[in-house]
């Protein structure tokens, strides 16, 4: 009940997120936060109108973070949309939303996953037992089991780069400038201005997680689970086939 009251502004307020509705972290979550600089609250704004679906961010993330084959910390979901006999392509970059009230954290039985005081949600893979409870709890399918470390894995906003004063790899590499990263605690930052001035949306607002990845131009049809014809492509099956092909060759 507490949670729904706390998240009422974002949950019930359809999808629109204005600066006025940005509430702070729940008290218990804020207390549990550790590491990072509390002076910052890192966030991302994704302008889907500028995304060309080149997947450069997907590749940059894999290279930067040594993401294992067949796994993705970020990906640009791509859809063909037909309306009134005209077709178009819709691109939707997805990543961990570094929520203000992340449902992945309270379920963790060992405290391996936690939120830093700058809002970044991370996993200590030396503590994680790989129980995958957080994978189930994430409403965005943003987490997975890394089969090299056998622990939970996800986007960290490239925390190692951010701590060194750099941008996340996906932001750095984005050719269209669709990904904007910055500090919500800095009123002069681009993300703060966008949050204040634009009609931003978040994914699955009804979950009450208060994502800190915002979208410009997010079509409501793609805000939750997409009602469409699924992709036939399964990376692991594809890899198995490629491997089998190589062995035959």
């Amino acid at each position: 009940m507490d949670q729904s009251r706390r998240n009422f502004c974002l949950g019930a307020g359809a999808a629109t997120v204005g600066a006025a509705t940005l509430s702070t972290a729940p008290a218990e979550a804020a207390v549990a936060r550790k590491g990072g600089d509390p002076a910052h609250r890192w966030a991302m704004v994704v302008d889907v109108r500028k995304c060309v679906g080149c997947q450069a961010c997907t590749v940059a993330c894999i290279m930067e973070n040594d993401v294992p084959e067949n796994s993705f910390r970020t990906i640009v979901s791509t859809y063909e949309v037909t309306e009134h006999d005209s077709s178009g392509t819709y691109m939707l970059p997805r990543l961990c939303n570094h929520c203000e009230d992340p449902p992945c954290i309270p379920v963790c039985p060992t405290g391996a996953t936690f939120q830093r005081r700058d809002g970044i949600v991370v996993v200590d893979n030396t503590v994680c037992v790989g129980c995958a409870y957080c994978v189930q709890a994430c409403p965005y399918d943003a987490r997975f089991i890394n089969h090299e470390t056998q622990t939970a894995d996800k986007c960290t906003f490239c925390v190692h780069r951010v701590d060194a004063g750099l941008l996340p790899a996906c932001v750095e590499t984005c050719v269209g400038g669709a990904r904007i990263f910055g500090d919500l605690n800095d009123p002069g930052s681009t993300v703060s201005k966008l949050v204040r001035e634009q009609d931003l949306k978040v994914l699955k607002p009804e979950q009450g997680t208060q994502p800190r990845v915002f979208y410009v131009g997010l079509d409501p049809k793609f805000q939750g689970r997409v009602d469409g014809t699924p992709t036939l492509w399964r990376p692991s099956a594809h890899a198995e086939r490629s491997l089998a092909g190589k062995e035959h060759a």
């Binding site: 039985p109 037992v129 994430c138 089991i145 997409v226 992709t231 399964r234």
Partner: protein, 376 residues
Amino acid sequence: MDTNIVEIINVTREVAWLPWAVQYFFLIGLSVGGLLLSLPGYAFAREEWRRLGRVALLVALTCGLAAPVALLSDLHQPGRFWHFYVVLRPTSWMWWGSLFIPFYVTGLLVHGWACFREEFQQQGRVDSRLAALYRLAALGGGRNDRLIRGTGLVVLAGAALVALYTGTEVAVVKARPLWHTPFLPVQFLMTALVGATGLVLLLNRFAAVTDHEVEVQANRLLAGALGGVMVVGGLWLALGLFGIDRTHAEALESVAKSEAWRVTAIWAVLATALPFVIAVAKPKGTGLLTGLIAVHSAWMFRWTVFIGGQTVPKTGAGFYEYALPAGPDGLLGIVGTAGLWVFLLLSITALLPTPPRSAPHPVRAVPAADRAVAAE
């Protein structure tokens, strides 16, 4: 607006709770169900429940010992299981589970020993090379109803905590509408009772001599449990179907368009209704059939919830594909767990063979006063 969306690029998230988890929830459920069925005969010393209770206790012990192995295997880092015990994480039901499971299993072992103590004592009187070991296991005593009742009540508390945590752990996952229902813990418990009763029927059937009284008793219990499953399932369906509750409606909507889920639903209804009708119409001589269907039904429920539930994407279109791998994360895990259970069953029944029914009742020396307490 007439819109057609085709997903061209997205990622399939593999199931993260593996068939090991299905095995765990199945076995621990059957163990809890078996324990509940054994309590009237042992902890409450109701003689007419004693023979059924003995079979049920075997179910509780064998499944309860095999279950934690399956759970440990479901961790991707099983060697780090001790990490659960060096932190305080009261917000995580899984963390609570890590406390409840050892409490329950230890209690179960102590209770099992208390229940079987008179059999140990009896075996110790037989002229065999193992007699000394049996006497040692009996710790110089025989049947002690007070001890049985005391340990029974403790392990009942453990079973209640296990039933609570296993159900709630899954039901709190808001991200999966199919799981996020207060009915789920009840459904897990009811289907666990179905599975445990089914396994009692099977073990009774495969014992040296089938006990038809136990069969009829278990079939009646099975009918009751199946009735409960149908009522709870019907309520869940009604909430979704009539849009009374949004989460339930979402859950139903997430799978309604799938042919595979429709087949699963029909299968589930048949696997519940059919043994119910048989158990009511002909409780004698049908134990093998109703038992098999009941055990299968309890397992299928968990398979559908866990593996089926994880094939429903949270954001993507359609469904994720799932094919059962042959290795440890799939078929081998299922067969291996079943093999462990068979090993435990053979070991326990080899040490403690079913007492012959024709023989006079073993060492009965319970004072009348005790009996009166037990009957209250």
